[in-house]
Symmetry: C2
Subunit: 340 residues, 2 copies
């Protein structure tokens, strides 16, 4: 069934070129110490034999690899798809390949992934957030592998941290809403403990409204549904069943779009009868009518800068430490000044 023809190795290339393995190795890796003529000949021979180097052997010999392991919660979200995409560009140019796993917001899954990753002796590891299991941190700390923590930063990064302050982000958006005169806020999110970043933003929202609305007065709807658009619809319906908010903050823009669509179906005028706000300025946010009030997270910058710092570290520059980037408020048509 599967052919047994053993693929040509360095030995075959060397023999067919009439040189030693070492010379062939040098020629193929572009190292010096090989005459131009021989190098050319060796490359030709290798090509003819369909030679494909064996990186397992290489990695074993040099005790490191050019793999970078990445752990993200999900890819069904522009945030992480964008972060991944921007990192990939940088890593690719630097000669690294990425191995990604999605954990669905589960630290156990993250732990298992890290353990597996380390068995490949990766060049580096990228994790989402700063909240990991103890064993995860221990393993990483004494593996001596550079670690990049993205999206959310904590006080004590394993190595390199870059992201935003989600509490501050929530506060910023909340302050904007409170400033417009909204007084009866609601929040539509996922199950508590599911997404720590969303929870942090929620805390920020509550803080911002504290002067005018005590935390206990918030209307809160938590939804289990996986399709975020549908979750937004359900969540808004639930929230409206619990009270009469004048503004609804959603876990992210996908949720908010779901909420907006619910309003359209129920003929609730936005922003006249109800204000809506999302998070993260996802692609859809600026397309819907009215366009969403949201908060733009510098996610491509997080990925790009983070990746560059990691690459620099791999090249020996000490780029350890935490970096906090700023979110940017995006006022949209789903909110408007309240009152007189």
């Amino acid at each position: 069934m599967v052919d047994k023809i053993k693929p040509a190795g360095l030995r075959e290339v060397a023999e067919a070129s009439g040189v030693s393995m070492m010379t062939a190795s040098r020629a193929l890796r572009g190292l010096e110490g090989v005459s131009a003529a021989k190098r050319q000949q060796i490359l030709t021979v290798a090509d003819g034999l369909n030679y494909v180097p064996n990186r397992n052997a290489r990695s074993l010999a040099v005790t490191n690899s050019d793999l970078i392991g990445v752990s993200l919660p999900t890819l069904f979200n522009d945030v992480f798809a964008d972060i991944l995409d921007s990192m990939r560009d940088v890593f690719r140019k630097a000669g690294y390949a990425i191995v990604v796993e999605t954990t669905e917001y589960d630290s156990q899954a993250e732990q298992a992934w890290v353990e597996r990753l380390l068995s490949w002796r990766p060049a580096a590891v990228v994790l989402t957030g700063h909240d990991h299991l103890g064993r995860t941190k221990t393993l990483l700390r004494n593996s001596a592998v550079p670690v990049l923590e993205i999206w959310d930063v904590g006080p004590d990064p394993i190595d390199i941290g870059i992201g935003l302050d989600h509490v501050a982000a929530g506060r910023m958006l909340g302050a904007y809403g409170a400033g417009l005169g909204y007084r009866r806020p609601a929040y539509v999110g996922a199950a508590e403990g599911f997404d720590p970043r969303a929870e942090a933003r929620f805390r920020g929202l509550v803080e911002a409204f504290a002067p005018t609305c005590p935390a206990a007065s918030w209307i809160v709807a938590r939804v289990e549904e996986r399709n975020p658009f549908v979750a937004g619809e359900i969540g808004l319906a639930t929230a409206l069943g619990q009270g009469a908010p004048d503004i609804v903050f959603f876990l992210n823009d996908h949720f908010a779009v779901g909420g907006l669509m619910h309003c359209q179906k129920q003929r609730i005028a936005v922003p006249d009868d109800l204000g809506l706000a999302g998070f993260n300025a996802l692609r859809i946010a600026s397309v819907v009518t009215p366009d969403l009030t949201t908060l733009a997270s510098p996610r491509r910058e997080i990925g790009g800068r983070g990746a560059r710092r990691l690459v620099a570290r791999l090249r020996g520059v000490d780029t350890r430490g935490t970096e906090v980037l700023d979110a940017r408020l995006v006022p949209g048509g789903t909110t408007r000044p309240q009152g007189a």
Copy 2:
């Protein structure tokens, strides 16, 4: 900077346990031939030493790995994110890890990725579509690595193929539109040659309308914009500038949602003044108002079944060959019967 403490290897575990490396290896891999007491002791010692096996060495010794390389055009599209997600479940359970690369619809990038992949001696390779460079096919064919081609199938798969017939899919949606009485169709897509699957669907649409609308009469708008929602808006505006279609087919649902939002902004009544239709039944399709007329592609099934066939093949079952799955029409509120 980076600590130099050499991580514990099998040798260290064996010595600390007072057994040979082979016994330690057996114990850690759960093979038989080790007494329960010794196994337990070895596991404890390994844990205490923070032992992490070196898969490069393992792969080298057994000349294969548990990596499956995947090439997808993009992850900013539920189709591929879903396919990846459903494959990942199957592969994970079977003990394989996935390495993904996105090619942005570029065969050169795919070629480079395959070459890199093969250097890891992967257990298998997954590619999107059936249209690859000659060298890509050659390399794969004589590497003896099982290959799974997904999403779009061709007459001569490298190994295993599973997907749908995009021309037939286009025909199905087109027939529905023509059947409703639409006579002046338009198409909004990407640059020609960019996405071969989209082109195939477009051909199917044209075929279906052939009896009532000659191919030359189609209004066609091709957009370069990367944000698919925005592309849909721009494309629809362009199309409307070129003529007066009664129905507009979009490259996919994201484009269509963009078009729908354009209609809302321009106060074009959908479906009364204009019909809209997307492709792929993406998550957002059923959430917007009115809900999109679209075609549901069995993408989770493609990923799941494809992955299972690949795993079976890796276990020695010959599952080669092509499998074509059916798309399902999703009539929505963006179209309605025309005429009297």
